[in-house]
Symmetry: C2
Subunit: 257 residues, 2 copies
Amino acid sequence: VDNSRELPNFLEAFSRIKGRKLLIHGGGKKASELSARLGLPVRMHEGRRITDQETLEVAVMVYAGLINKQIVAYLQANHCQSIGICGADAGCVSATRRPIQTIDYGFVGDIHPEQISKSFFINLLEQDLVPVFAPITHDGTGQLLNTNADSVAAALAVALSSAYKVHLLYCFEKKGVMRNVSDENSLIPEITPDSYAQLREQGYIRDGMIPKMDNAFAAIQAGVFDVVIGSAAQLSDIVAGKHGSATRCHPGKDAFK
Amino acid sequence: VDNSRELPNFLEAFSRIKGRKLLIHGGGKKASELSARLGLPVRMHEGRRITDQETLEVAVMVYAGLINKQIVAYLQANHCQSIGICGADAGCVSATRRPIQTIDYGFVGDIHPEQISKSFFINLLEQDLVPVFAPITHDGTGQLLNTNADSVAAALAVALSSAYKVHLLYCFEKKGVMRNVSDENSLIPEITPDSYAQLREQGYIRDGMIPKMDNAFAAIQAGVFDVVIGSAAQLSDIVAGKHGSATRCHPGKDAFK
């Protein structure tokens, strides 16, 4: 979503995916741009935005407004019937404002996975409507909250895995998990819990990739069929299951026991 | 929605309305404020906003984002299960960019009433979900369009009148249609097509009220049961049918022939 030239191509490829699907998006760069134009300081802590009242309003406007509805309009143009929602809609994803410990993240929500309204999502999916989800949640008392899009995606994937075989795809600008970030040809095509432990020990997976991988395997542990990490530009190849188009995390042989 | 202190009261009263209902909102003042903060000129022509690309983005952010999701979160807090949508969602309300004649309104849409997806709205209503509609539409090719909220409300009321007995309520800051705008006690409690013709001839209804009245009687002609024009602050009394709480436009005795 941060690349307005690539977005229509990505959404066209997304439209062609067969089967039930939903799209969870972020939009951090556009929110930062708008904050800058409004003279609001962008404050981050460990990759997470600190969200005061004005920053929350920017997040709601950009995520749930501009980006969400632009995505929906593009999908409609591709004959993909979609509906743009956030966690407040039908109360489908609720959260609690993160408690203040060493740092006050402001209006940032941590999801209640057990309160996700599965029936609402299943109902949309069974009507062939594609939910397009903006990572804004609510606390049930009228307060909107900014929520991490990756966490929302994982929680929704887990929640829906009791009803469907769920593939969770994380799309970003890289081809996948690389052995060497500066070597385009060092993609790791598959990771299992065993190989993850090895790769981590050998130092190939480190820093910001560790929480992502931990989340991926936690989602698999909780019922998601597999988690694929790859480039938005490669979506068609990834969906076709082309080996080497992305990094696929799966439970390994143990899963079939 | 331009009054952040009154909005929660209005939404609480709205939540208490029995029966199936939907809410169509605008948000012009907040959009103008954001435009001003971004240094965008606000250009109006005959009460309609001229919408260039940047102004459209502001409208989408404010209407479909900030205001829409804030309303939904408040309604959820009042145990009113609601879902915030715009015309792009599920392709429910499509429009055509207004043709350039003497003036180019920019990205402003005129609704296709015959293309309103009645089944989508009926489906939500029958699930006890209250649609909260932001007046942003789309043209089917991926272009979002800014659309007049009063026109959307009338078109949705007409479309749904084949399935339901529809009361269309226009809420604004005045008590209703007044004989004398500077006299609080000059409310006209009822208007029929006959009395409308008289009131207009006598000069009591004029200027901007004429298109509003014309639209009200056109909606009634097209199947809407009645059209009530009143103050947002009086919503409970209006819904209770309290005489003198608002102006009720209805077809008069002729309707019962």
